[in-house]
Each structure stands twice: as structure tokens, then as C-alpha cells.
């Protein structure tokens, strides 16, 4: 129990938030791991920064609940959200009829919501502009007059209760040629003419890229996903100027704007910071500085973050797992329990474990370290127990018969003899940790996962490699390091092995 406390303290101490310095207010912005959210997060961050506030932007956090929890816990001050997400997912149990009810519900949690930023990113239907113009289709209702149109929808949209079946019923659409297929294939089908209509999100970059017309949802079938800034109500008192600056985005970002911004970032691969900065300059007349580090500086920063995650979690795991392994070897029945428990932890998907950690430890390096710590336990506990159990009984008996106390037997005989096995366990844990730590980026812990995440989002292999190559190198390095440590730590008599054993 005491060890647990110690580990928690250690993790807590290492992941602590930086202390605030001068009088400038601090604003912590978050964004989800898709391009639109990152651009809006950047825009908000740059606006806040223009008022002199000290701003941090935790980009690409792994999912809505991560941001929501972090905001409620006060680890973030503001992030871009959608009214539909708030109503349908985060507060779905409340059955909120409109935005006013939503505001009230948010206020109960100490949260506020800006006015809509101006665009609605919801499900939509799109057609090639030329074809829609030729057929005179502007609204979804217009489709009724064209029963022979070929529809292709993403599988998700086909299956969802509020997707195609509901849409067909509420608009009484007559089309029979409706296929479910992969979203990317749908765009290609539109291009080749084999499909004439597909589902999309109303601010997708592809709308511009493929020259699509988004049909008006004249019966308001799809729920509104109006973009808003969600923020803590204490921000008004703490950083009024920064908040006012961020709220200048209200009503200033149209759907057309957002499609263009998304397209610039996703298709032209302009950095989100630059995209946001250019938009602020033209739309609001705000000039902001976009900071960008060179490749070496970026890799070095992420290496430090990554090493911090792996190092702290591994040290903490060693401090607990080796004693647990000794216990498991001494008390086999208890040992089976310990091994079973650590084994169960191992089967929890990393993403799930990270998300579970957030209500306890917040976002940033702490939940990541805690998860990595838990994952490291099994290999070390198991190898420690196996190493101790593998000590031949006659050696064990000899140590006992000499009159060595139990503690001295452990330190002088058992642990040195189990050292190769224990070390191998730590090595396994370290290598696994280096890989798993890349997921830490999903909860804002940084590390090599950050460029990988961005690279996956932007389908940019160069960025993926910027994280994956150093991660692989670090894993090899860690493995090599432990081989070197083994040469120092493992007694020579054990390394000789049986090769030179002579019988005379």
C-alpha cells in the first residue's frame, strides 16, 4: 500500500503543472485530433496570445471525452466543440431540446458556450456542382424529382438509425440504387461518374477539392452541429481580455470559410498555425506570429518528452514490480493472484486505460505515465518471480543451511542469481513502453506520438516517420542499453553459462 502511494506521489510530482510566473493570465486551449478542431484551437490560441496572455495549446487530444473531462477538471480553459456533440453525446441523458437548455446544463458544470462561430458541421449530402446545376438540384427535397439518381453512402451512414433510413423516410425519397461503401471510394465514384450523390460532413475539405455542391437540408433532418467555443466560466474573471479576443470568432467562420481552411491544411499541407493565422489576418485584421521549430528542435523536444514518460514509468514499475515478484515467488498462491491481476491489466487496450486514467489524473504526462507504469508491471513481476523460482533447490537449501538470514539470502544469493531474468523483464517492459508511449500524445503527453498522430490525420507519411523512426531508434537503443547493463549487473559466474563447464 505504501509503495502504491509512493508511486502515485512520484508520478504526481513529475507531471505537475508549471507554476505561473508573472502577472500575465494563463490560457490553456485544447483541440481534438482532427484538422478542423486543430485549426480552430490554433485560431483561439493566437487570439488569446495577441492580448498578452500566456497560452498553451494542447493539440490533437484523443477524443471528445478527453477534452470534456479535462475542461471540467480545470486542466483546459477552452476548446472548440459542436452543439450536436454536446447534446447527442456528452449530455445525451438530459434530452436537451435547444441551445438555451444546453447553456443551462453547461452552467451547472461551471461551463459556458460561445455564440455559434458561424458554421454547422453536420451530415450533409453532396453532388458534383455541374451535375447539380444541370438537374437544378439545390435542396434535398429536389431529389424527389430524380428517382434514378445513383446514391453511394458511407457504411456508417447506411447503418445509423438517423442516417439513410431516417432521411429516406422524412424526405420520402424514391431512389432504389443506393450502395454502402468506403468513404474514400465514394469520392472516387463521384469523380468517375458511377455515383451521383454521397454523404459528407458539411465542412469536409473534399467539398472544395472535388467541386461538390452541398444540398440544403430544407426539412432540418440532420441535427445541428454548430461550432462553438466551450470554456470555463472562471475564464471571464481570470483572463477577460483573452476571452473577449477569442469570442471575436463568434459568427465569423462560415461553412465556406471552414471548407477552405480545412482544404488548405489537409490538401495543401499548410500548417494549422499558418492557416489560422492567415484567416485571422483577413477576417479579423489580427496579425499573429506563427512559431515553428526546426526538425532537429522538434525531434529533440519530443525525445525529452518521450524519455520522461518511459523513464519515470519504468523506474516506478521497477520499484513496485521487483518486490511484487519476490512476494510472488515466496508465496505461490498470492503470486498467482498478483500475476493474474497484472495480466488482466495487460489485456486492457491502451487507449481505454489512458481514458480511464483521465478522471483520476487529468490530461498530460500523468495519465500516460500511470498507464505505462501499469503495463510495465507484468513483464517485470513475472520475470522476477520466474528468475527466483528457477534457482535450483540445492542452492537454495545450501544458503539456508549456512545460517544466512532470509534478507541476506535474498540480496546475496537469490536476487543476483535471478538478475538475468529480472533484467530481461525490465528490458521487455522498456521496449514495450517506448512503443506504447507514442499513444501518450492522445492525452496531451507529447512525445513521438505527436507527429505520428498529426501524420495519420493529414495522411502525411513524412510526419509519421518523424515520430516513428526516432521511436524505433529509441526502442533499439533501450534494448542495447540493457544488454550493456546486463554485462555490468549480471555476475560473471552466471554469464559463463554451461559452455565452459568441465567434468573431470
Amino acid at each position: 500500500m505504501r509503495v502504491w502511494l509512493l508511486v502515485l506521489l512520484l508520478v504526481g510530482a513529475c507531471g505537475g503543472a508549471p507554476a505561473s510566473g508573472d502577472g500575465a493570465p494563463e490560457v490553456r486551449v485544447g483541440s481534438k485530433k482532427f484538422t478542423e478542431s486543430v485549426i480552430l484551437g490554433e485560431a483561439a490560441a493566437q487570439l488569446a496570445r495577441s492580448t498578452g496572455a500566456r497560452v498553451t495549446h494542447r493539440r490533437e487530444l484523443g477524443g471528445t471525452t478527453v477534452l470534456w473531462e479535462a475542461l471540467r477538471r480545470g486542466e483546459l480553459d477552452v476548446y472548440p466543440e459542436y452543439t450536436g456533440t454536446l447534446r447527442q453525446e456528452l449530455l445525451s441523458g438530459r434530452h436537451l431540446p435547444d441551445d438555451a437548455a444546453l447553456r443551462e446544463a453547461l452552467a451547472e458544470s461551471g461551463l459556458r458556450m460561445s455564440e455559434p462561430l458561424g458554421f454547422n458541421n453536420t451530415y450533409a449530402l453532396g453532388m458534383k456542382e455541374a451535375e447539380a446545376a444541370r438537374l437544378g438540384i439545390r435542396r434535398i427535397s429536389d431529389l424527389r424529382a430524380h428517382p434514378s439518381l445513383r446514391f453511394g453512402f458511407s457504411n456508417e451512414f447506411m447503418d445509423r438509425a438517423d442516417g439513410w433510413p431516417a432521411l429516406r423516410d422524412s424526405y420520402r425519397l424514391p431512389q432504389r440504387d443506393v450502395r454502402g461503401l468506403d468513404h474514400d471510394l465514394a469520392y472516387r465514384g463521384m469523380e468517375s461518374g458511377s455515383l451521383q450523390l454521397t454523404d459528407l460532413y458539411s465542412t469536409d475539405a473534399e467539398i472544395q477539392a472535388y467541386g461538390l455542391r452541398v444540398l440544403e437540408d430544407d426539412l432540418h433532418h440532420f441535427p445541428a452541429y454548430d461550432a462553438v467555443l466551450l470554456y470555463r466560466d472562471d475564464l471571464e474573471a481570470r483572463a477577460p481580455e483573452a476571452l473577449a479576443a477569442m469570442l471575436r470568432l463568434e459568427g465569423r467562420v462560415s461553412e465556406e470559410d471552414m471548407v477552405k481552411l480545412n482544404a488548405r491544411a489537409r490538401l495543401e499541407r499548410v500548417s494549422e498555425g499558418r492557416v489560422a493565422s492567415d484567416f485571422l489576418a483577413t477576417a479579423l485584421g489580427v496579425t499573429s506570429e506563427v512559431r515553428g521549430d526546426g526538425l532537429a528542435a522538434r525531434v529533440w523536444k519530443r525525445t525529452r518528452e518521450h524519455l520522461f514518460l518511459v523513464g519515470v514509468s519504468l523506474l516506478a514499475a521497477m520499484a513496485l514490480a521487483v518486490p511484487l515478484g519476490v512476494l510472488a515467488a515466496r508465496r505461490p498462491r498470492l503470486g498467482r493472484g498478483v500475476l493474474g491481476l497484472t495480466g488482466v491489466i495487460q489485456t486492457v487496450p491502451s487507449l481505454a486505460l489512458l481514458v480511464v486514467m483521465i478522471p483520476l489524473l487529468g490530461i498530460g504526462s500523468r495519465p500516460a505515465i500511470a498507464a505505462l507504469f501499469l503495463y510495465s508491471l507484468l513483464p517485470i513481476v513475472r520475470n522476477t518471480a520466474a528468475g527466483l523460482a528457477g534457482i535450483p533447490p540445492e542452492v537454495r537449501e545450501s544458503a539456508e543451511a549456512l545460517g544466512l538470514p532470509a534478507r541476506a539470502r535474498l540480496w546475496r544469493i537469490e536476487l543476483p542469481m535471478a538478475a538475468p531474468s529480472i533484467l530481461a523483464g525490465i528490458q521487455t517492459a522498456a521496449v514495450i513502453n517506448v512503443g506504447t508511449a507514442t499513444l501518450g500524445a492522445l492525452v496531451g503527453a507529447g512525445g513521438y506520438g505527436q507527429p505520428i498522430l498529426t501524420g495519420i490525420r493529414l495522411d502525411d507519411v513524412r510526419l509519421i516517420l518523424e515520430g516513428a523512426v526516432p521511436a524505433a531508434a529509441l526502442a533499439l537503443l533501450a534494448s542495447g542499453l540493457f544488454d550493456a547493463v546486463e554485462r555490468v549487473v549480471v555476475p560473471r559466474g552466471l554469464r559463463l553459462g554451461t559452455a565452459v563447464r568441465s567434468t573431470r
Binding site: P392, E394, V395, E397, S398, A399, E400, A401, L402, G403, L404, P405, A408, R412, I413, P416, M417, A419, P491, R492, G493, L494, L496, G497, T498, V500, R501, S502, T503, R504
Partner: protein
């Protein structure tokens, strides 16, 4: 030195040792002899508390053997123990194996060195092999290291469990001679386990022949041969005679 009173030991349903009373005199070599599974090793392990008896008690030097704690550790330091194959610590050199307890007890280096030199001389162990690890030593050398380790603290008692069991005949023969000389020189209380009749007769002042957890007969080899207590003793002795035609007198 030892007094056993109604001592017995079970492993689960198996009665490894039936209730047994006997005394082991100080300064003498007693051999526990018998086939595999007769309880001789169990009996030996009761003498240094590696096993605890189920019934009865073991008196060591007139006092009951402690069942644990520092008192038991103190007894063990007065009782040297070596077993088949040596049971050496593979991560320590020969010298470190021998001096482990001395270093744990923080003996002065000079005292340790002096004792080690005496033991090397006693066991005729090659000095240059002290720095080798067990895996680099021959079987006979390992057994000598185990013997030195058992004798390091100059114990009152020496317990040896088939110390020559895993050795080839020539080395075994050589070590048997050395052991007899060492026992004669040290005049310690020695309890030695073996299944070899000739070895028992050669090394032991007194032999306890055991079978299925009971002592069948106690005495000198000549007594066993001249007045076997029962049919088993006769068969045990006959079984270890040279094979017919295997040497002079085999057919006689």
C-alpha cells in the same frame, strides 16, 4: 551431540520417517545408509532444521533445536552442511562461496584469509582455482569447495548428504581417502548420508542402516555383516558385493 526422541516426519500421506529415537555421539562419524527413499536425507535435514519434525524432538547439545529465528541461524552456524553436487552459488567464485558467511559476519580480512588458507591445505584444493566460478571447476573441485564452505566457521558438526554421489569412480575414490583423513584430523561430529556400503564402512565409525523410514540395524559394518538383523540387511549387503566373475573371489 544429537539426541532424537520419538522423531517422525510425513510428506502428505507418505510417512518418510517413523517415530525414531537415537543419539549421535560427539566426535564420531555416523553414516546413514540405505536405498533411495529410505528417509536418510530426511533424517539429516531434521538435524539442522531444514525440516521440522512432526512429532518428537531433536536435542542439539542438550537443548531442543530451535524451530526458527536467530536461534536457529545460530545453530546452523555451528552445523556445516554440504550436499550432492556441492550446491555452490554459481554467481560467486570458489573463494567467495567459501567465505560468504565470514563476510556476512564481517570477519576481519586477515582472519578470513587465515581460515581459508587452512581449509585449502586441509582439502588439498588448488589455490589458483579459488578465483574460478563453479561452472569452471571439476566435479571433485566443486565438492571440495562445498566442504570448505561447510567448514569455514569451524562448526561442531558436519552434515554431508551424498557428498560423493555425482562423481566418477576415480575422483570418488580419491575424495573418500581425503575425507577419511579430514574426519580423523578434525574429530568433529560427522553425519554422512550414502547408499554405498563400502563408503559407509570406510568412512563411518557407526552405520545406521535404514529402510522405508525406519532404522533396521545400527552398528559397525562388521556387525552388520556378521549378525544381520533381518533378511533385508543380508540382501542389502549382498547386493553391493562385486559381481560374479568381476574380480578375484567373485565366484568363491
Amino acid at each position: 551431540m544429537y539426541e532424537l526422541q520419538d522423531v517422525s516426519k510425513c510428506y502428505g500421506a507418505t510417512q518418510a520417517l517413523h517415530p525414531l529415537s537415537l543419539s549421535l555421539p560427539a566426535g564420531r562419524t555416523t553414516v546413514l545408509l540405505g536405498p533411495s527413499g529410505c528417509g536418510k536425507s530426511t533424517l539429516l535435514r531434521l538435524l539442522n532444521g531444514l525440516l521440522a519434525c512432526d512429532t518428537g524432538r531433536v536435542l542439539f547439545d542438550g537443548k531442543p533445536l530451535p524451530t526458527g529465528g536467530d536461534a536457529l541461524l545460530a545453530v546452523r552456524r555451528r552445523v556445516g552442511y554440504a550436499l550432492q553436487g556441492g550446491g555452490l552459488f554459481p554467481h560467486l567464485t570458489g573463494e567467495e562461496n567459501v567465505t560468504l558467511m565470514a563476510s556476512h559476519l564481517r570477519w576481519p580480512a586477515a582472519k578470513t584469509r587465515e581460515r581459508l588458507d587452512a581449509l585449502v591445505e586441509l582439502t588439498r584444493f588448488p589455490t589458483d582455482a579459488l578465483a574460478r566460478y563453479p561452472s569452471q571447476l571439476s566435479g571433485g573441485q566443486r565438492q571440495r569447495v562445498a566442504l570448505m564452505r561447510a567448514l569455514m566457521l569451524d562448526p561442531d558438526v558436519l552434515l554431508l548428504d551424498e557428498p560423493l554421489g555425482a562423481l566418477d569412480p576415480l575422483v570418488r575414490h580419491e575424495l573418500q581417502g581425503d575425507l577419511r583423513g579430514i574426519f580423523a584430523r578434525l574429530r568433529k561430529t560427522v553425519v554422512l548420508v550414502t547408499h554405498d556400503l563400502a563408503e559407509a564402512g570406510f568412512l563411518g565409525d557407526s552405520i545406521l542402516l535404514m529402510r522405508e523410514g525406519r532404522v533396521v540395524q545400527q552398528g559397525r559394518l562388521a556387525d552388520l555383516e556378521a549378525r544381520p538383523a533381518d533378511d533385508f540387511v543380508t540382501r542389502f549387503i549382498q547386493a553391493q558385493r562385486p559381481l560374479p566373475g568381476g574380480g578375484p573371489g567373485g565366484e568363491a
